[in-house]
Amino acid sequence: MSVLELANISKHFGAIHAVNDVSFTLEAGQVVGLMGDNGAGKSTLVKMIAGNFRPSHGTMHMDGKELILHKPAEARQHGIEIVHQDLALCNNLTAAANVYLGRELRRGVGPFRILDYAAMYKRAGQLFAELKSETRPRDLVKQMSGGQRQAVAIARTMLSQAKIVLMDEPTAAISVRQVAEVLNLIRHLRDQGIAVVLISHRMPDVFDVADRVIVMRRGRKVADKKIAASSPEEVTGLITGAIEQVA
């Protein structure tokens, strides 16, 4: 089932065509690897889905209805969550506080409402258990490993009923063991029926975890095919331009 449909999306910054006439669909429970060289338009594309930019041309449809986003908060309301490359974590707060940052749970009556620590610790713990991550809700994020930090950022996307999770370079700059951990986190998201978009430069990660790969070059989509039908060599050729385009 398609969750999101992009039709002829373009984004111009003055004379620069960052994204040019791109169309694709995202399916529930599917991981799409979004690849391309620096400046190919991956980030701009994802930022339009996340509500940071508005497309210059083209339309987005979600569950059959047109989707117009003015700011990231609206994307969130539609179930579109993003995991930023720098993870956007506060080191001085606990894991649970980070998961709930900006949407803290409170209890009480009317204007007299206090933070509900117990409920936030409990739910954060459940999310970490679902992600099979050894992350303790009460620990400060500054004491955590790269994999645990990813788990915190990903758990944040699972708080509401997310339909789409956009991940910007989640495996850059972490150790090999932690990469495996993060790829497992992505599989857990997929198994819950979430559509995952994985922006990555790392070929092995995409071929390990993605169902489909979309390749961008100079703002255009040059490939959109099943991982099983492609190969790292082909994708490399597409990224560099050695292969012009595939169906």
């Binding site: 993870l87 956007a88 506060c90 001085n92 803290e104 944040r156």
Partner: protein, 332 residues
């Protein structure tokens, strides 16, 4: 025995005791207690009711302002204008009441003045991205100058029809012989502690100090909160000004001069981090207490008052040194 994932997740890594032992505030409390014990034994004058009454009351003015400063410092900002704002607010109160208005009107005018100054600082910092250091340094100069303008640089010591009410407010001891300012300080500390620990606003203040960019990305209203913390800081200076005016019974244009340094010293000694993200209400009080005990003890021990700055500066460095040593150990 195999440990399941759920057990690992549910585990608390740090016990209450280990957390207390690793906090800077705890060691400063110990230092204050040891200093008091030593002074009680070494001098006859320290543990007298009169001296303790004086010490607790002297702590309050710096402590109340330090409570407001704690909010600002947790966000990673600084407010250098508090001493001058205290002076301007005291002067607004004095001039209004001297002109024949009631104490209620005077206090209202003072609070509005404080909030307006805080909002001005906050808007420049949050919306126009001025560095807090520069904005509040400017306000340090402006506010004191306005106080001089308001009073024509005279001493005000007659407060109109409600003169006695004001003096009772600041100088009285309504409950169990505890000086009124001390009661206000305890009340404000409880409110501060509650806000920091139990409200969404408090949580967001810590988030801004920890990672402002992350706070913005997750939808925290960073700008509004920054304006609010500078308003709180100015408000605390205004309240301290009201109380101090009632206690002193007179306002001059040089009160609160250099106070910003004592206030910042108190918050830092109490465990707040100038880089942002860390700080407590209790720490601000304890920091103010340590400074006052040092000042008091030098007098009682007959040490030349010129040494005061050296001892207070030493206390600041020692407190931060403890913090550094703990961090070294942790990174090993």
């Amino acid at each position: 025995m195999a440990v399941t994932l759920d057990q690992t997740i549910a585990q608390k890594q740090h016990s209450f005791v280990s957390r207390v032992l690793s906090s800077q505030t705890f060691w400063v409390v110990i230092a204050v207690i040891l200093a008091c014990l030593f002074l009680s034994v070494a001098t006859d004058a320290f543990a007298t009711q009169k001296n303790l009454y004086n010490i607790t009351r002297n702590i309050t003015f710096v402590a109340i302002v330090a409570l407001g400063m704690t909010f600002v410092i947790i966000t990673g900002g600084i407010d250098l204008s508090v001493g001058s704002v205290l002076c301007l607010c005291s002067m607004v109160l004095a001039v209004t009441m001297h002109a024949g208005y009631s104490i209620e009107v005077g206090i209202l005018a003072t609070i509005i003045t404080a909030l307006a100054i805080g909002a001005f600082n906050g808007v420049l910092i949050a919306y126009l991205d001025f560095p807090p250091f520069v904005v509040t340094l400017g306000m340090l100069s402006v506010a004191r100058s306005l106080a001089m303008v308001a009073s024509n640089n005279t001493v005000v010591f007659q407060f109109g029809p409600d003169h006695d009410k004001l003096l009772a407010l600041g100088g009285g001891a309504w409950v169990f012989g505890i000086a009124n300012p001390v009661l206000y300080m305890i009340l404000l500390a409880l409110i501060t502690g509650f806000i920091l620990r139990w409200t969404k606003f408090g949580r967001h203040i810590f988030a801004i100090g920890g990672n402002e960019h992350a706070a913005t990305l997750t939808g925290v209203p960073v700008r509004q909160i920054k304006v609010a913390v500078y308003m709180i800081s100015a408000l605390s200076a205004g309240l301290a000004g009201i109380i101090q005016t009632g206690w002193l019974g007179a306002v001059t244009t040089n009160i609160g001069t250099g106070m910003e340094l004592q206030v910042i010293a108190a918050t830092v000694i109490g465990g707040a981090n100038l880089a942002g993200g860390v700080g407590t209400a209790f720490g601000a009080i304890v920091g103010a207490a340590l400074i006052e005990v040092i000042r008091n003890s030098l007098g009682l021990l007959g040490i030349n008052a010129f040494w005061q700055g050296t001892f207070i500066g030493g206390a600041i460095l020692l407190a931060v040194l403890f913090d550094r040593i703990r961090n070294f150990r942790r990174s090993d």
